[in-house]
Amino acid sequence: MSSEYSITYKAENHYENWVHDAHWQFLIIPEQNNTQEFVSVDFKNSLGAINEYSINGYGFRTIRIQPRKKFKEISFEANFRLLKKEVNPFDFELGEEIVKSYQKIQELDFKVDFEPFLRKTHYTTLPEKDSTIFQFDTEKSIFENLKALNHWTFIHIYFKTGVTDVHTTLHEIIDNRHGVCQDFSHLFCALARQNGIPARYVSGYLHQGNGYFGDSQMHAWAEAYVPNIGWVGFDPTNDLLANTDHIKVAHGKDYADCSPLRGVVYSKGKNTTSHAVQVLQQQQ
């Protein structure tokens, strides 16, 4: 069975003074993968500038816009429709041979192949004092440990908006113990990597019909690579495995690789920006 989702993304920018030159790049189109099938994409901007569909440096679809006239405000609206296959997060053989999989992650080839997702980045560097804050129990399988880490992160951080922003690093998050989905995901990735498991930050949409945290903005979760199984999605903000309600847009080493909107605007003075996201589901 599959569900059809309809996603609306809106952004509005107001500038105090005329803007003569501006470029934006949106990274908001859901990824095509074996659980996500695209139905349609519709993108509009209030200035009628051409929407150029392209691929960014990490291989994800983007929309680029450069208005060729001066303006003081611009708004964008995207509508995506896609079919999401029913995902059973546990739908794999847990025939993980515990000892072998821990050996696997120690192999050089493995480390080289997954190098970017094992790297400590700006957002996923643990403070020295916290490097052993979560250690894997090698008696248990990697998957079990990741589930435990997911739960641990969920418990350790208190979901609270407005206390962190896109610049917050793990140091503050671990000490203050609150944050939003980005912060949960960064901490999860950092600790998975600390234990030798490749982990990537995922940006996407969350269908909130079931009362999950994720606010009305874009959502973030993580994927970890489990030997012999593959990439598995973990949502530490909600203590869940990623499922049908998680609609993936892009992944990267951390938020910096996935920020939904990048812009270069040549203007002086103040500006205000607002974003809104809505995800609707139609059962089929």
Binding site: Q25, E52, G57, Y58, R64, D109, V112, E115, L118, K253
Partner: protein, 487 residues
Amino acid sequence: MGKIENRIFSSYERNPILYDEIYDKNGDIKNVYQKLFDLYGGHSIRDYVKLNTKAKSSFFNQGITFQVYDEKESQEKIFPFDLFPRIIDQDEWDVIERGAIQRSKALNLFLWDVYHDKKIIKDGVVPMELISSSANYLDQMIGIDPPGGIYNHISGTDVIKHNDGKYYVLEDNIRCPSGVSYVICNRTALKRALFGVFNHYRTYSVTNYAENLLDLLETTKPKGVDTPNCVVITPGMYNSAFYEHSYLAKTMGVELVEGRDLFVENDFVYMKTIGGPLKVDIIYRRIDDAFIDPLEFRPDSALGVPGLFAAYKKGNVTLANAPGTGVADDKAVYTYMPQIIKYYLDEEPILNNVHTYHCSRPDELKYVLEHIPELVIKPVDEAGGYGISIGNRLTKEEIETIKKQVKENPRKYVAQPIMSLSVHPTYIDDSESFEQRHVDLRTFTVLGKDKEFVLKGGLTRVALKKGNLIVNSSQGGGSKDTWVLKE
């Protein structure tokens, strides 16, 4: 040899410990320099000073200058230039040329590998840290096949001659190596001042660089393009290398553009001309990776072109050098060059590498800390001669400071034995006479698809401060015309 009174060199003091490029072991003038020595010797130092002044003003009037910014205003200065050329004979040059090509090719294969299968790391030849802890490794380049298979179209290999008389490579510059315009200007200036001396030597021309560069860049044009449109992109006229950028554009016969002259539409790059947009296929870029596309890299960059990387990734435009080449010119990679050459080419290195101690390895760190006075300590990720400490020049306190810095951050440092750069007679303004000064040589290698070119000459850089070993222009270096002799 008959004793001719040589007026100009009569006061030349020769330190026998140093390797002097124009004298042999017995203290006689080397054959290749004899004629030059006699010709210059026929002048008085007064004549020489006059010529020198003339050459300087010619540089000044041609605007071959760089800006020095101090608190009050910017000043224009010329690069100090010495009228006594350096000569490299055919046999010696042959080694340098083959060595430079070998290194450039090996580095190109290395770059392909680290952005694709990473075999060299999996085979344990070089450590993973070369990419994982390199600030210049660009994840966005993973899996991209650059047009023509070339990453480092242009390489600047810095070589020196040690007091054993052998050439050693000091570093490979494969981001945006600069200096080639000075090679050509030096030649022009020397010809203007002392054209007569060229009658006595058969010297290779250096003016063919730009045409070869354009030819070879064109071999790496994007697929589906017949006659590629090539441009040079510069950060702008306030950049210290702007003269070189404009010189290259002019002699290649292509447009010199700034980021604001280009735009990307549907993943193709265009330039804004008086007749409307014109597609651009090859960009020789003199802007660092981080600044080429604000939508992909540093968002505060006003120098680059939004969307450029997407166009590159699609294969619609060639960037020379490719983004991400910086990973291979880190000093850490340098230390593995012999292994890298062997791994990809199955050849022995033609040019020597200076032995390098990695402070990241505990036993080598121990050695370094104990032998600082005999070593040069270099930060792994600085260019332009910054942050280099030369052990035998340091005071006790300075040694302690360095030790502390290295201990705190061993990964950041490598150390090498102090190389004794060869010296060359150089005219010194203050003493109005010729003195020994240390020199190195920057060579310029261009790689194209199945073709390569090495500029027969290169930039001989002179450390003008007495005893100084650092030749970079930003550190008060000058330069000399460099003659490669035909047989």
